[in-house]
């Protein structure tokens, strides 16, 4: 790994689901470095040369770092809220940059086209103005006042609603989405994408949710989220270039892409460049 990527080395990344760790452990890799998630008590993560890496168990996942994280893993208070169902969706491998996977998760303009009649539908394609900021204290990207009309926004919804959204990027390859909760107006449903960067153009994506929904079977909740993500995967594996351009180069971002632009700026400022293209080609 080159010095260029040093800032990303000191971050936390998901490498396994604690509840699904086989007795022999899980052999995987993190930014090109092989690691083994060992099913000891407590769970350990070790490198090929026997080095123990830092480990955190949170949101059902095993998190580790190749370096020395300056702070604890980001907090999602909704995870501890009574009455919420915590859903582990399971890993999906995607042949794309880990940064592209996050950028796609932050985007809503694709709902009517990629998730047709589920998260969006023509002619409701207009993306209104919304707010984006980098919250300096937490050092996170936040998009708020995002709205989109959806025919069937969640398993617990009957009929179409205008859904409110907030997006949050608390780490270079993790994103949290807050959306209107049909079962409990006033609360937010929480859906996350925790992305494990395997290589600059290969990642394991670990979706996770914290929902208020007393009706829907867990398998249906999981299948719904998997279906949405598999639709996104066919996009992610067919974007040119594979790496995320930090210089828009030949791309044309519009106002609807404001969250993506803020994410790329935040990556650029922190020199989080693993999976990024620096010079436009």
């Amino acid at each position: 790994m080159t010095v260029r990527h040093q800032p990303m080395i000191d971050e936390w990344y998901p490498v396994a689901l604690a509840s699904q760790l086989p007795p022999g452990g899980r052999a995987t890799q993190l930014m090109g470095t092989p690691v083994l998630v060992v099913a000891d008590d407590p769970i350990r993560v070790v490198t090929d040369d026997g080095r123990d890496l830092p480990v955190t168990l949170r949101y059902g996942h095993v998190w580790t770092s190749l370096g020395q994280p300056a702070k604890q893993l980001f907090d999602i208070p909704e995870a501890d809220q009574p009455g919420r169902r915590l859903i582990e969706v399971g890993v999906v491998r995607v042949r794309c940059s880990p940064l592209r996977a996050v950028e796609n998760f932050l985007d809503i303009a694709h709902f009517p086209f990629v998730h047709t009649d589920i998260l969006g539908a023509e002619p409701h394609t207009e993306v209104g103005k919304y707010d984006v900021e980098i919250r300096e204290k937490e050092d996170e990207v936040w998009a708020t006042k995002v709205q989109f009309y959806q025919p069937q926004a969640a398993k617990s919804a009957t009929g179409g609603i205008t859904t409110d959204y907030m997006y949050r990027v608390p780490a270079p390859t993790s994103s949290v989405l807050y959306k209107t909760c049909p079962a409990r107006p006033g609360e937010w449903d929480v859906i996350t994408l925790f992305v494990q960067p395997l290589q600059e153009d290969l990642c394991d994506v670990w979706p996770w949710m914290a929902l208020f929904d007393d009706e829907t079977a867990t398998t249906d909740l999981i299948h719904f989220q998997q279906m949405i993500f598999l639709q996104d995967r066919s996009i992610l594996e067919n974007q040119i270039p594979r790496l995320l351009p930090l210089d828009p180069g030949r791309e044309i971002p519009t106002r609807a892409d404001l969250t993506s632009v803020a994410y790329r700026r935040w990556l650029k400022r922190h020199q989080f460049t693993y999976g990024a293209q620096l010079v436009a080609q």
Partner: protein, 82 residues
């Protein structure tokens, strides 16, 4: 969509040689006519005329810019004198 006339005031660490040609190339990619009114290592003013959605897109692109430039803020002011 009627044409708007706005001045984008771009501030940051803009001193790289790459920035001004980059800005003009991105404006051309959007079909926007633009004139650079001021340029130094900390601030670039560009006057743009065109549909407001395209001026929004120009702001999006310029918030990123080339890798060796850091744009801190972009202020927009309507201009009747463009």
């Amino acid at each position: 969509m009627p044409a708007a006339r706005e001045r984008l005031t771009i501030r940051g660490r803009l001193g790289a040689d790459s920035f001004l040609p980059w800005v003009m190339r991105h404006a051309a990619r959007l079909g926007l006519a633009g004139d650079i009114r001021h340029a130094d290592a900390g601030r670039v003013d560009i006057d743009l005329r065109g549909p407001v959605d395209l001026i929004d897109a120009m702001e999006m692109g310029c918030l990123l810019g080339p890798i060796d430039v850091w744009v801190e803020t972009i202020d927009r002011t309507p201009s009747s004198s463009i």
